[in-house]
Amino acid sequence: MELFTNQILAGIATGAIYACMALAVVMIYQAIDHLNFAQGEMAMFATFVSWQLMQWGVPYWGAFALTLVFAFAGGIVIERVLFKPLAKAPILTNVAGFIALFAIINSCAGLIWDFTIKQYPTPFGSAPFLGSQLISTHQAGMIGVTLLLLIGLFFFFQYTRIGLAMRAAAALPESARLVGINTSWMIALGWGMASAIGAIAGMLIAPVVFLEPNMMGGVLIYGFAAAVLGGLTSPFGAVVGGFLMGVFENLAGTYIPGVGNELKLPIALALIISVLVVKPAGLFGRHIVKRV
């Protein structure tokens, strides 16, 4: 029984990271209707920036805040320079752009910081959480930060004017322009926010997987999967999807004979496919009520 609880809690903790990545994926998808394959690399690069700042003697939370600003600005710059010109281009052109961006950021990180694995600090410590042996304070911290992020995003989109404008621009760009919303900047803002959320995910997971240019590869796949599972139109769904992915992956690895660590991912992805067969819009995907 203890093993079971343990695995669930550990699953929720890794799920928190998937949830963060899934949130970033959903933010971009809402803004431009595409999945950003370079999302993980952007997060990795931001994490390296925070590491570099700490090497230069900036305290953790200072580096954290500066990195968020950097990631936010970086996301906007990438959108303005690379993807705004591609806005009306066919999907495949955009996909090529994402892949190019992936390769460029990955190589740049390798060039600047090389490919050796680096230690990354945790602000929460790694002692047992509340004296329990089940999860560490870092894992508890990851869960806490993810939930705070979700609540923050909810209030932003539900109760602020700019959040409302962003939702309008994503739903119906032409109508949004007709009420005076600058939809082009809303998209850039979406990129900035997605990039900053990804950076949070990167900085939270770096103490677990260690820092190196390829650290986000696996995480991004889980993040995509979580977003699709929860519904690409729902931030809440993305977070739930992330937690479900983490828990299911752990349980499958522990209890299904022969799965172990190697087959965890395929099993988790198979689960997602089965869910999508039943609910194509994802668990919490938007169901638009329309009169006919």
Binding site: A165, A171, A176, R177, L178, V179, G180, R286, K290, R291
Partner: protein
């Protein structure tokens, strides 16, 4: 009377196809003008060209300021509210959020709240449904919502594209009654594009008739309605 909108030699293009061939017209401040014409005559294109939603050349001046080469969202900020064909309702948002979006460019929070109440007074059905998803409203209710959303801008000029489309005759009467009231009481200049010429001429004080991208007739709405030749050749009733 001062001119609020002045359009000169407006030409519009969809790709290589020219849809407007040098349209000129003007709207007097406080007037209610209708733009009539058959399917494909260029009525919708004219409205879209005013808001720079289609490639066009020519001069468009609003209160003497040129609108050419400004972005759609910028033109809206001049106080030009456009109710597009198909109403442009944000169907997955609530009725109240739709109204808030209409005022998204305004900064005066207190009067936005009171304006929403004013819209509920104009359109009581919207108050009953203010928390409902806008997509669940009936066609008529959505058209009311679209007009209310446009009014939330506190516009100087309101452009309406076929507001009667797909609505029951009684609902159309209702809607046109409200438009007349808005024009008289709130001093909003209105340009309404209509296929339902008879009804539009009853409502409007000025009328333009366009055919294949050119203005072929203009004048007092009553005169046009009473002129049998024009009615038969251009308006088909």
């Amino acid at each position: 009377m001062t001119q609020l909108l002045n359009v000169k030699d407006l030409r519009a293009y969809y790709g290589q196809v020219q849809a407007l061939h040098g349209l000129s017209f003007s709207l007097n401040e406080g007037s209610l003008t209708t733009l009539l014409g058959a399917n494909g005559a260029g009525k919708t294109t004219t409205l879209r060209a005013i808001c720079n939603m289609v490639r066009s050349t020519g001069a468009i001046e609003f209160e003497g300021k040129p609108l050419t080469n400004r972005s759609t969202e910028n033109i809206v900020r001049f106080g030009i509210a456009h109710v597009p064909q198909g109403r442009g309702t944000f169907t997955n948002m609530t009725v109240e959020e739709n109204l808030q979006l209409g005022a998204i460019t305004r900064k005066d929070n207190a009067s936005i709240v009171s304006d929403i109440e004013r819209m509920y007074a104009h359109f009581p059905v919207l108050k009953q449904r203010h928390t409902q998803q806008a997509g669940t409203l009936s066609g008529g209710e959505q058209q009311m919502l679209a007009v209310a959303r446009a009014l939330m801008l506190r516009p100087r000029l309101m452009l309406l594209d076929e507001p009667s489309f797909g609505l029951a005759p009684l609902v159309v009467r209702d809607l046109f009654g409200i438009l007349g009231k808005i024009n008289r009481e709130d001093k909003v200049t209105i340009l309404v594009v209509e296929q339902n010429a008879q009804l539009a001429l009853e409502l409007a004080d000025q009328a333009y008739v366009i055919e294949t991208g050119r203005i072929v007739m203009s004048g007092n709405a009553k005169d046009i309605a009473n002129n049998e030749d024009i009615r038969k050749s251009y308006l088909g009733y």
